[in-house]
């Protein structure tokens, strides 16, 4: 269980009377991060499949995650996004339930009354505000879209590619894990993540995100959020099995007329790899706050280096030309 966030009161250390205490402490600080432990045996890749069509927005996943990982409260602020008052994923919120209300706009009352009905008094007491126009493609019946957002645990994670300290690793379950004793809070991972998942903690100064309950997985338990989800919207298990379930569910929904049902992140695209936390959605990904076409920033890296090196070489050539020609 992570208790870092609770360590707000420094416990008094036993007095170290050794004159070399500070030296040993310094050596430990320098050498311990360099030591490598024994790499655990690889296990079958595990992850999440989230069926948003059965999510009821109860936020039990948010509560369970905060409780298990001892994450602090974030305060309370009305965001204006329906029942979503978490706002976003952060260093202290590793699960974020999103709410989207999609209801057709009723006709203005003045248009509900038949024109032929004689009226003694005008019903237009106040000017009728303009109604929200019906959005093309939206069903004419109302619905809620609810989704529990989390770290996507990408197969080729830009955060892992960015991390200069080696803090972010792929663990034996092929999940993306931040080693809290290595991270120094440079926030390059925050800049690299195309899903806006990672944030730096104000308390510890380290980057933090969902660990897919690595500590629970090592003990053969399922993550807290999947354990507590009452509708099995969040499903945990081997990735191959989850993909089969997701695709079967899409076929079922499409057979029932939900033609917009699709799985997001189960397969690699031209610009991004698969996700080990993928979603069944019934609207465009942007409606759920997910990028429509996630893009791995590393695709451009070599080209950017080449442009930089060429420009540097050309500028050097100009300098040399000036120095050598003008000096004659």
């Amino acid at each position: 269980m992570a208790i870092e966030e609770l360590d707000v009161v420094r416990r008094p250390q036993a007095e170290d009377t050794s004159p070399h205490g500070w030296f040993v402490a310094l050596l430990e600080r320098l050498l311990v991060p360099i030591r490598r432990g024994k790499r655990p045996e690889p296990q079958p890749a595990h992850g999440f499949y989230t069926d948003t069509t059965v999510c009821i927005g109860c936020k039990a996943c948010e509560v369970a995650c905060k409780q298990w990982n001892q994450l602090p409260a974030d305060g309370f602020e009305f965001t204006g996004d329906s029942y979503d008052n978490t706002g976003e994923l952060s260093a202290s919120s590793w699960r974020h339930v999103k709410f989207v209300e999609q209801f057709p706009t009723p006709e203005p009352i003045s248009q509900l009354v038949p024109q032929s009905t004689p009226q003694r008094f005008s019903l237009e007491v106040l000017p009728t505000p303009a109604p929200v126009p019906q959005t093309q493609g939206q069903p004419d019946w109302g619905r809620w879209l609810m989704m529990s957002d989390v770290c996507k645990h990408c197969v080729a994670a830009p955060c892992q590619q960015a991390c200069p300290t080696g803090a972010i690793i792929y663990n034996e379950f092929a999940n993306v894990y931040i080693q809290p004793d290595i991270c120094n809070g440079c926030t390059y991972c925050v800049a690299a993540c195309p899903f806006g998942v990672i944030t730096r903690s104000m308390t510890s100064g380290h980057a933090r995100k969902c660990t897919l309950c690595y500590d629970r997985q090592k003990d053969g338990l399922m993550p807290a959020c999947a354990k507590v989800c009452p509708t099995a919207s969040i499903q945990f298990g081997p990735i191959d099995e989850l993909r089969k379930r997701a695709r079967k569910r899409v076929e079922e929904l499409q057979a029932k007329g939900v033609t917009s049902a699709h799985v997001y992140g189960d397969a690699a695209t031209e610009t991004y790899t698969e996700l080990h936390s993928f979603y069944l959605l019934v609207d465009r990904p942007e409606v759920y706050g997910l990028p429509e076409k996630p893009f791995n920033p590393w695709i451009h890296m070599m080209g950017d280096y080449l442009r930089t090196l060429l420009t540097g070489a050309l500028t050097f050539a100009v300098l040399l030309a000036v120095f050598l020609l003008w000096s004659k």
């Binding site: 996004d81 976003e88 959005t135 590619q161 960015a162 803090a167 980057a207 409606v287 280096y305």
Partner: protein, 310 residues
Amino acid sequence: MRTETNTPNPQGYAGRVVTKPPAWHDLVVLDVLFNNLTTGLFLVAAVGELAVPVVFTPVATWGYPLALLLLLIDLGFLVLDLGDKLRFHHMLRVFKPSSPMSLGTWCLTIYSLFLTAILAAELVVILGWLPGDAGLVWWLRKLAVIGGLPFAFGSAAYKGVLFSTTAQPGWKDARWLGAYLMNSALLLGAAELLTIAALMDEMRAVSLLRPAVGLLAVINLLPLGLLANDFYPLLANLHPRRERLATGFAIFLLGVAVPAGLLAISGGVVVALAVLVVLVLANLVVRHVIIRLPHHMGEASHRPCPPTGS
């Protein structure tokens, strides 16, 4: 009755910026500037010393200690910007060339070692312990200058690529950011060396550096223009046209017109200092605009994202 004022948006979270800006603010602006100042000074001094040693060696002798001082200040900014400053050495825990930040950290570290070696060789000569015009010290110094070149180059090159290899709005489309920062570094370095040469009254070095600085200031417009083109959709969304034109004009004035104009008039100490100051100011403004871009997008995140290149 549902109206525009009280209807939840059926588009949900569409049109909002999904990414989060990193906690990089003024310290990083100063870090980028000082990185360019130190690497540019070393690169120009080294190239000058190797190409025309008779002219540039006396000037470079003072250029390298200044480059080391600027590097130490730059490293200070980098450490202060970390969330856990006492873990700054974790950057050297792994060597990961696929991460621009890791590559840059190693380049900066090795560059600092070569700079220190050059300073040690110069100190030995200044203190009179060994002769500096020939022999072991001379060769060690020359090897340190040559050895430091690729790492100084790498230290200048990684910075822009670090920003463009992210998912942040603006930065992710900045294909010419690395090229612009590299070119600016050499321009700033030439201006710094010109100032040192003017202060030392080394007129032969001044006569070579004056046209170099003027030419580089004009050439700098090319990568800057390409970079502005990369940023255009985002800047158009964030700032009105008048503000963009005013900022662009100020950058052109301080970054090209004033330096070139002053250098055409004279190569004295005052002019050299003035050129350096306006160039540093212009480059500071550009870097401030660049670093603040994702933060401004985050603040305006309820406005739709502009279409971008990728």
